[in-house]
């Protein structure tokens, strides 16, 4: 794992028992993980009673270093040996490495879910609503007497902060059968692929 100088310095400070005793260190690591998972940026995240006596600039630097390191680890799916080796390089003792790794395991899968949801993708379908109607006549043609479906695909565009741009279209029964048939083909090949 490649870490910038600033992150390395921050981690080295975290390893320093004269700056952070073990308890304060543990609290800071826990806070770092939780702040990554909370939905809103919380300004008071560092307002823990254990941090009152610390130099605030140092505290912020170490928090940033910790969160950057955590994200890098989750991104690369780092295992215990990679993490231990890396933390050893920044002078972490065995106890602190253990504390870090335990917390890492606790929060890893949630962080993975969070990271996998980032990124660009085509508009994502979430749901579908449908309406069946029977057209009797309209202004231009009388005696139409045909059923038709109105389908709305509820689509979420991740790029615009999750705004929905629904796709609406109408179709006859045959067309809907065609659509469902093709979707079932896709589902069948999904099933086959999972059995490989």
């Amino acid at each position: 794992m490649e870490l910038s100088e600033s992150v390395q310095k921050g981690l080295q400070s975290l390893a320093d028992a004269t700056l952070f005793d073990l308890k304060t260190f543990s609290v800071l690591i826990e806070v770092a993980f939780r702040s990554l998972l909370s939905a809103h940026a919380d300004r008071s995240v560092l307002d823990q009673p254990e941090f009152k006596r610390l130099d605030q600039k140092l505290l912020k630097h170490c928090h940033t270093a910790a969160t950057t390191y955590i994200l890098e680890g989750v991104k690369q799916n780092a295992d215990k040996s990679t993490i231990s080796a890396c933390l050893e390089d920044v002078s972490f003792d065995v106890e602190r490495t253990e504390v870090f790794y335990t917390t890492y395991q606790k929060y890893k899968s949630d962080l993975e879910t969070l990271l996998s949801s980032l990124g660009r993708c085509p508009p994502h379908i979430n749901d579908v609503s449908w309406r069946l109607e029977y057209c009797i006549k309209n202004g231009h043609v009388h005696k139409v007497n045909e059923p038709s479906y109105l389908i709305s695909l509820n689509v979420e565009n991740a790029n615009n902060g999750g705004s929905s741009e629904d796709v609406h279209f109408s179709c006859t029964m045959e067309q809907l059968q065609d659509l469902v048939g093709k979707m079932k083909d896709a589902a069948k090949s999904l099933e086959k692929a999972t059995q490989l």
């Binding site: 996998s116 579908v128 029977y134 231009h140 179709c171 809907l176 659509l179 999904l190």
Partner: protein, 200 residues
Amino acid sequence: MLLVLSDEHKEHLGFLPEVDSAVVGEFGRIAVEFLRKGTNPKIYEGAARKLSVDAETVQHGVEGLMYLLTESSKLMISEVDFQDSVLVLGFTEELNQLLLQLYLENRKEIRHILGELTPSLPHYHNLEWRLDVQLASRALRQQVKPTVSMKLHLEESGGVKSAKVLQTDPATLMHLIQELEKALAELKTTHCRRILRNIK
């Protein structure tokens, strides 16, 4: 149900008995062509010169035919009703038969053309799909995320085609299939069958 023709309409159509049935046949063909592709005033002038009448008279005659055809097709009137409606004009039996044939041969197509005028949403044309597995992204490496990409082809009533690229995950795909199958099953219920049978 009988067609009610206005006096002005009857006057315009009054030109038709004055010419050969071959010419009326030609006018009929022109009327349908105009309904398909739009009017072309030059044709009126050409015909007017050949028949030694006003271009305006020719125009009225053709437009009268067009209106007769669209109104009859819109209401989908039966053969008998059409013949009775046309009887009012006092044409010869031969002319009436000609007009009837013109109506019967073209009404399906004319109804289709009229149908394009109605307000409607784009309708389904085709669906292409593809299975992908996302392996990595900038934010997270070593993933195995299956996704289904789809290209939905839609067509507007004017023939304008559009295609939308969409994506979904396997669980949502199963849900979509379930919901849409429910929709299809609705048509087969007693309630729907009763309505479809009785409103004709």
